[in-house]
Amino acid sequence: MNRLSPDEENAQNVVSGTAMPHLRYRISFGKDGPLRYCSHLDLMRVWERVLRRAGIPLVYSQGFNPRPKIQIAAGLPLGYISTCEILDIWMENDPLEPGSMLSALRLAAPQGLTINTIHLVALSEPALQSLTASACYQVTAKNSAIEPGMLEKRVRELLSQEHVWRERRGKRYDLRSLIRQVEIMPGTPLMLQMTLELSPQRGTGRPDEVLDALEIDALSAVVTRTTITFEASPDS
C-alpha cells in the first residue's frame, strides 16, 4: 500500500495550506450476513461506496491514480464474521457531528455491515495496522465429530509444545508462537475461543491454521472475530 504516514500527511496539509484541516475518524464495525463472503479488498470498495452514499468527503491521495484515504486495522479473511473491525477515515472537512455521521453511515450501510461507533482520533496517531497486538476469535465447529474430551486433549497437546512448525503458502512458520490462548467453551455445538497474535512485529495467527492443527474442518466452522486489542501505548 502506498499511503503517506500521518506525519507526512500533516506536513502536506501545512504545505498546501488547506483552509480546513483534515480530520481523522475511527469507526468500529461488524461484518456478517452476505458480507461474510466478501474479501478484504472488496470490503474496502464497499466502504468507499458507503462513505460516498453517506455524504462524507474523503481525503484522496495525490498522483496519477488518487485513492481515498481509508485504513482497516486488520484484513479479515473471506468467510469470517466480525463484530469488532476498525476503520480509520480521513475527511476533507467537518460538515457532520459524529452523531449524525453515525446515523448517515447506518443508513448507507449494506446488509451485513453494522456500524458500532465512530469517534475522532488525532491525525498524528500512527497507522492503524501498526497499533494492533492480538485478536480474539470465537469458533463454532458445526459438523465436527470430535467429542469434547478428545478435543481437550488435542488443545492441551498443542499448547504444551514449544514450537508447532507448519507451512503456509510455501513458507515455514511456528504456529505456536502466534497462539496466546485456546479455550474450549461448554455446550453444543462445539465452541472454541482463541486469542492469537495480530502484530506487525510478531506476525498474525490464523484461526483456520489452529483449527487445522486441531484436526477440525475449518471450512465448515463459523469463525467470528470478537476483539482486536491494541498494543499498550507508552503514553497512555
Binding site: L35, P66, P110
Partner: protein, 635 residues
C-alpha cells in the same frame, strides 16, 4: 421441491468451498426483497452468465426497477453459477435459485432471460437444466414458469425458437409490465399453456414461435415463414417506447468486483450514422434523446443512491447527442471536486471529442478510445464510416498533448472486399499514432489496438454479404501481429473459431435448435469464454444434424433470399437495407440521416406513434397527425 430455507442451509455448506462466493449470496445495497406470499406475479430476471458479467447489464437493471415499482409484481435476480459452484449444486441437488429470497427458479411465474449476444445460447439451456425444467418449450406445461426472452440477439429469435415460450422483439420497458399483468390475470383462469401463450401473443412486440411454421427449400434456404393461427401478428413489428422513460438510478451495488463497477445512464437510444456492419445502428432506430436536465438529475441521484465512483453515459454514439458539449460542461461543473469519474464512451474521432473529455475533468489514466474501424478511405466508404485520413493523426496529437498517454483503437477486419493492403494500413495508422505519442510522452505513450472480425449480422445492409474465408482472416491477423509488435503497442483480436460460431448463431434458423442442444449435451457452455468454448462440439453437433457452417456463414446471397428472420420487423424496410447494400458495392456512402431522411421505413411503420409525440422527441422528421377514424366519428 426445495424451500428457500433449505437452499440457504445447503448453500452455507458449500459457499466457502467455491471461488468468489459473494456471487451467490445477494443482500447488496438497493436489492429489493418483497414478501413472496403476498405478491401475485413473481418474475425471475435471468442473465445467463455469471454474476460479474450479468450485474452491470443495464437492460435487467431497468426491468428490475420497473417491475419492483409495481405493487402486485416482484422481480428477483438469477445468474448462472460458475463451473465449480455448478458441480456443488449438482452434487448436493440444489436447484438454481434467486439471489433475493433464494427461491428455486422453477417457483417463479415468469422467467425473463436477457440475451444480448448469441454466445449465451448454450447457457440458456444450462439455466433450464439447473432449474430442473424441461429444455423445450412444448415440454413445459402450465404448472411451470412462462419463459420469455429479449435483448439484441433476439432480433433473430429462430435459433432459440424451440426453447423459449415467447420473445419480446424490441424494447421491453412497456411490454414486460403488460406481460406480467396478463400473467397475473390468467393465474386464476386455469388455462392451458397454449391458451396462455395465445393470449400473450396479442400484446404488441410479442413473438410466440410455436404459432409460426417454417418451410425450407431443398438447398436449406428458408422458403417461407407462416403463422399457423389467425390471431397472431405477421410480421411481428418490434416494440418501441415513443419517449424514453426516466432512467433507473437505484442500481443494486455489488459487494464484489464486477466487469463494470459503475452506474450506467443511457443518454440517447438509437443511431442515425448508418454504419453498415452495425446491428444496433439499424435495430435501435429511431433516435431518442434524454434532456440535459434529466441526465444531470439522474447522475446526481445515482451517485447519492449507489455511491458508485464511476458513471457511464451510454449511447451508441455520444458525439451525436445534440448538445453534447453543453451536457459535459454542465456535468463537469456540477461534479467538480467530487472524485467522480464520468465516462463518455463511443466518441467520434474528431478534435471536439478531446474538448468533451477535458470538460468532464476525469483523471486521464483510462486512456482515450476511438473506433475508426477501417484505415483506408476505400474501406470506410464500403462500411459507410467516412472520415478524412489527416484528421486521425491530428486528433491523436491533440489527445496526447492534453495529457493522455494511451489511445485505444477499435478496428474491424474481415469484410470480403478488404484487401491485405487495407489491413496493412491499419498497422501503419496505429504506428503513426504511436509515433505522435512518442513525440510527446516518449516511452510512456501506448496504443492499444483491438481488432474484431466482421460478421454479416441480420437486419443490416451487410446481411447479404458472406463472412471472409477463415484463411483470409488468419492471413490478415498474422499480418497485423507481424507489423504491430514492439514496445508501446498492444494488439488483441478474436479467435476465428469464435467469430465463426457467432456468425453461425446470429444467422441461424430453427434447425439450429437441435444443434445448440447437442453442443450443450457435448459440454458446450460459456461459449463467450475462450477457455470454455468447445469448437469441436459445435462441428460435431452440426454434422450430426446434417448441417454445416458454410450454408450459414459463407454464402453470397441473392438479394431476394428469404432470411430466417424476415418475419421479424425492425421497422427498417428490407428494401432499404438492400439498396444500401448495393450502394456499398459501388463504394457509395450516405450521410447521417439527421441531415436528410432516407425513408428507411421507421416513419411509415411507426407513423401513428410519431404523430402523437412532440416534433423534437425523435430525430426523424415529424409526421403530420392524421385524424383517426374514431376521432372522426367523435366530430
Amino acid at each position: 421441491m426445495h424451500t428457500p430455507e433449505q437452499i440457504e442451509r445447503a448453500l452455507e455448506q458449500v459457499l466457502l468451498r467455491v471461488e468468489r462466493p459473494g456471487r451467490y449470496v445477494g443482500g447488496e445495497f438497493n436489492a429489493v426483497s418483497k414478501p413472496w406470499n403476498s405478491i401475485q406475479v413473481r418474475v425471475a430476471l435471468i442473465f445467463p452468465d455469471i454474476y460479474e458479467i450479468g450485474m452491470p447489464n443495464l437492460g435487467l437493471a431497468i426491468f428490475y426497477d420497473l417491475l419492483n415499482r409495481q405493487p402486485g409484481i416482484l422481480a428477483e435476480r438469477v445468474y448462472l453459477p460458475w463451473v465449480d459452484m455448478e458441480a456443488m449444486l449438482k452434487r448436493d441437488g440444489i436447484p438454481l435459485f434467486s439471489l433475493e429470497t433464494k427461491h428455486p427458479v422453477s417457483d417463479f411465474d415468469v422467467l425473463a432471460i436477457s440475451i444480448p449476444y448469441e454466445q449465451l445460447y448454450t447457457n440458456v439451456l444450462q439455466v433450464f437444466d439447473l432449474s430442473g425444467l424441461p429444455l423445450r418449450s412444448i415440454e413445459r406445461d402450465e404448472t411451470m414458469p412462462i419463459v420469455i426472452a429479449g435483448g439484441h440477439a433476439c432480433y433473430n429469435p429462430e435459433p432459440l425458437a424451440d426453447f423459449i415460450d415467447l420473445f419480446v422483439i424490441g424494447e421491453g420497458e412497456e411490454a414486460i409490465i403488460e406481460i406480467a399483468q396478463v400473467v397475473g390475470e390468467m393465474k386464476a383462469a386455469n388455462l392451458s399453456r397454449n391458451e396462455q401463450l395465445a393470449r400473450l401473443a396479442q400484446l404488441a412486440g410479442v413473438y410466440v414461435p410455436r404459432f409460426y411454421e417454417v418451410d425450407y427449400q431443398e438447398d436449406g434456404v428458408v422458403a417461407a415463414i407462416k403463422p399457423i393461427r389467425e390471431d397472431v401478428p405477421f410480421p411481428v413489428l418490434k416494440r418501441v417506447v415513443p419517449i424514453l422513460p426516466a432512467p433507473p438510478t437505484r442500481f443494486v451495488v455489488p459487494n464484489i468486483d464486477t466487469v463494470h463497477n459503475r452506474a450506467p445512464i443511457e443518454i440517447m437510444r438509437g443511431c442515425t450514422r448508418g454504419c453498415r456492419f452495425c446491428h444496433a445502428g439499424f435495430v435501435a432506430r429511431p433516435v431518442r434523446e434524454r434532456s440535459i436536465d434529466e441526465i444531470v438529475m439522474a447522475v446526481e441521484d445515482a451517485v447519492a443512491q449507489t455511491g458508485f465512483e464511476e458513471i457511464a453515459l451510454l449511447s451508441l454514439s455520444s458525439s451525436d447527442y445534440t448538445d453534447v458539449l453543453n451536457l459535459v460542461r454542465t456535468l463537469g461543473e456540477r461534479f467538480a471536486g467530487q472524485r467522480l469519474s464520468i465516462n463518455l464512451p463511443s466518441l467520434r474521432l474528431e478534435t471536439t471529442s478531446v474538448e468533451l473529455m477535458e470538460s468532464l475533468r476525469n483523471n486521464k489514466r483510462g486512456g482515450f478510445t476511438f473506433a475508426p474501424e477501417a484505415a483506408t478511405e476505400r474501406m470506410r466508404n464500403i462500411i459507410n464510416k467516412s472520415m478524412p485520413d489527416r484528421q486521425v493523426l491530428e486528433v491523436a496529437r491533440a489527445v496526447y498533448s492534453k495529457g493522455w498517454r494511451t489511445i485505444k483503437l477499435y478496428f474491424m477486419i474481415g469484410h470480403p472486399s478488404e484487401k491485405l493492403e487495407d489491413v496493412k494500413a491499419i498497422a501503419d495508422l496505429s504506428l503513426a499514432i504511436l509515433a505522435e505519442g512518442r513525440n510527446l510522452h516518449g516511452r510512456k505513450a501506448t496504443v492499444n489496438v483491438s481488432v474484431s472480425t466482421f460478421i454479416p449480422k441480420p437486419h443490416t445492409p451487410f446481411q447479404w454479404v458472406p463472412m471472409d474465408a477463415i484463411e483470409q482472416i488468419t492471413a490478415k491477423q498474422s499480418l497485423l501481429k507481424r507489423e504491430l509488435c514492439g514496445k508501446g503497442l498492444r494488439v488483441s483480436w478474436n479467435d476465428p473459431d469464435e467469430t465463426l460460431l457467432e456468425a453461425l448463431l446470429s444467422r441461424g434458423d430453427r434447425r439450429l435448435g437441435s444443434v445448440i442442444r447437442r453442443a450443450w449435451e457435448l459440454g458446450s457452455r460459456f461459449d463467450a469464454w475462450n477457455e470454455w468454448r468447445k469448437h469441436d462440439a459445435w462441428v460435431q453437433a452440426l454434422s450430426e444434424a446434417g448441417l454445416d457452417f458454410h450454408h450459414y456463414t459463407h454464402r453470397t446471397r441473392p438479394v431476394d433470399e428469404v432470411f430466417p428472420w424476415d418475419h421479424i420487423d425492425i421497422a427498417v424496410k428490407k428494401s432499404f437495407l438492400a439498396q444500401d447494400y448495393l450502394m456499398s458495392r459501388r463504394g457509395e456512402t450516405r450521410v447521417d440521416c439527421r441531415e436528410k431522411c432516407f425513408a428507411c421505413g421507421i416513419l411509415p411503420k411507426l407513423a401513428i406513434m410519431r404523430s402523437k409525440i412532440p416534433a423534437d422527441a425523435w430525430k426523424c422528421p415529424p409526421v403530420a397527425p392524421k385524424i383517426e377514424p374514431d376521432e372522426v366519428s367523435a366530430i
